[in-house]
Amino acid sequence: MSTVVDDIHHEEHHDHKPSGITRWLFTTNHKDIGSLYLWFSLIMFFIGGAMAMVIRAELFQPGLQLVEPNFFNQMTTVHGLIMVFGAVMPAFTGLANWMIPMMIGAPDMALPRMNNWSFWILPFGFAILLSSLFLEGGGPNFGWTFYAPLSTTYSNDSTALFVFSMHILGISSIMGAINVIVTIMNMRAPGMNYMKMPLFVWTWLITAFLLIAVMPVLAGAVTMVLTDKYFGTSFFDAAGGGDPVMFQHIFWFFGHPEVYIMILPSFGIISAIIPAFTRKQLFGYASMVYATASIAILSFLVWAHHMFTTGMPVFAELFFMYCTMLIAVPTGVKVFNWVATMWRGAMTFETPMLFALAFVILFTIGGFSGLMLAITPVDFQYHDTYFVVAHFHYVLVTGAVFSIMAAAYYWLPKWTGHMYDETLAKLHFWTSLISVNVLFFPMHFAGLAGMPRRIPDYSIQFADVNQITSIGGFAFGLSQLIFLWLCIKCVRGGEKAAAKPWEGAEGLEWTVPSPAPYHTFEKPPKVE
């Protein structure tokens, strides 16, 4: 190993890496694997997005126009699965791979070979899931929540493929989470104690523990579906002494922490970007850490708010209602801290900041509709309507996806060594911002008026609102092509990026040159 590791140029000479496809197949480098995850999630984002376009095209008018109801159901199901497990989660894992070692001053992830494995089983998992769509009778059509008995008694044989693909995705996520935890616990540079870690690292550490806790429960649930369907067990079959409602309890015991898995890393990203473009320290660092931890703990106590209409006793409904509302407190702390960070800051509005600001406002709208859904008596009206669809798309698209976009713009100069095209980026931001609201905001009204979700047809009075929604949907889908073009352009060239392209940015990742050398921090940096 080099003895003159202080010399950054010297490190660059060590940038030897295998060329061609084998570089990517056999790589154990956290930056390569991060890039693989990010590109993979972008591809999945477009595949899942194409399915959303099919859904919106069918819903453009009342009546059945384009697709069969069974195919429509497959689209809603696989769109959900792809976006959750293929787009959002791998994007966060990609960001974790790229950024966590650089943020804590580690040379790589702690378990690089497992890192390679956890990425490379993903394409196979999704190949299995997507191939099921081409089977006779079609792919999974029971919704991403695969409620029994829809997924057991009434499903076709593609369910086996669905179950195996879920197992693979679960194993991949668990390995990724183990890697993140070990890296953060063991590889921090000297002086980088826990309360000095950037919030993105903190939020990912907590997310990784959530993954470890609930992905195995998902694996158990899909295994029970598999054995109920093919091996004569009766976990969810009342005739054999099981209970279909129990499926929902097990599923949501996984499912609710899962939705926080998809938002906690966003909180970390936003907590990095807002101070950078406000040129101030983050307000309330410690309270951010505690708020994240409280949200994670509470996430295990609220699962049955997805099931208010299953006939629970009043006591249980009240318990889950109050626990759910309690989550608004730590979330409110976070939003307050972001706003307080901006207070009297010297703000500039580069694209990462624009996405971060849109996140704060629009995610909060999603949080408010979540509070409305938490109120048990009114949930009986909102349950399974487009109001729910509007709610979770506000938190997942303008929440999770916008934060991923913000992260991409923020760190693209570091990844590629080039500044992205700011004009194109602004165009992407404004078209996305307007179209996403045209797309999802009217869904609130359709839902309040009683339009049920996951149905390919609707009554005539919902025609106008669905037309507006669909137009917004097509516009949002097209806007993302700008992002794809921008990314390709940025990788291929552009204005040379400085080591620290953002004036107010803080963190170890900005102390290495742009693009980040293949190996960074082989000698641990000094942390003040």
Binding site: L111, V182, P216, V217, A219, M246, I250
Partner: protein
Amino acid sequence: MADSQQSQRPDNSKIVKRLLLTVAGMFAFGFALVPLYDVFCEVTGFNGRTKNEAVAATHQTVDKSRTVNVQFITRNAKGIPWKFEPSVKQVQVHPGEVRVVNFLAGNPTSGDMVAQAIPSVAPAEASLYLNKVECFCFNQQPLKAGDNTEMPMQFYLDPEIPDHITTLTLSYTLYDMTANATAETLAQLQTTE
């Protein structure tokens, strides 16, 4: 330098082992939720399940001061064309009083069949106080092609039943279990030949 760095670093394998154990534990916990759920439902009456075993009527008291309206509902699950209905739609009982209600079943098909009735009580809270001395739902019910039968259900309400429960509904869903019949039930079909 790299070596000294290595030696400072805590052992990865220790954490990995612990995390893998947690993963295995949570996978097991997913399955443990199944019996836990059953116990939880039995204790709290969540979900309106009734006890799946006979309860002897050992109590002495009959609370003549109150009556509770007990309603009976039957329905057939998908794929079973049996006739299945209670002989009375509802009865008025005093808590503690033992009653028998007959359910009528008929197999209109040309094949021998086996069915299983699954009970459920609404409101769920009432399921804790509904005790069955005897019930056809404890066992699978065989019925030969074209046969009809009367199936008795003997029950009483626990005198402890809270005052605010004035009506409870006992619902039975009938499932086709011909493919999954127990050996015992099949033997019954043979002997009645």
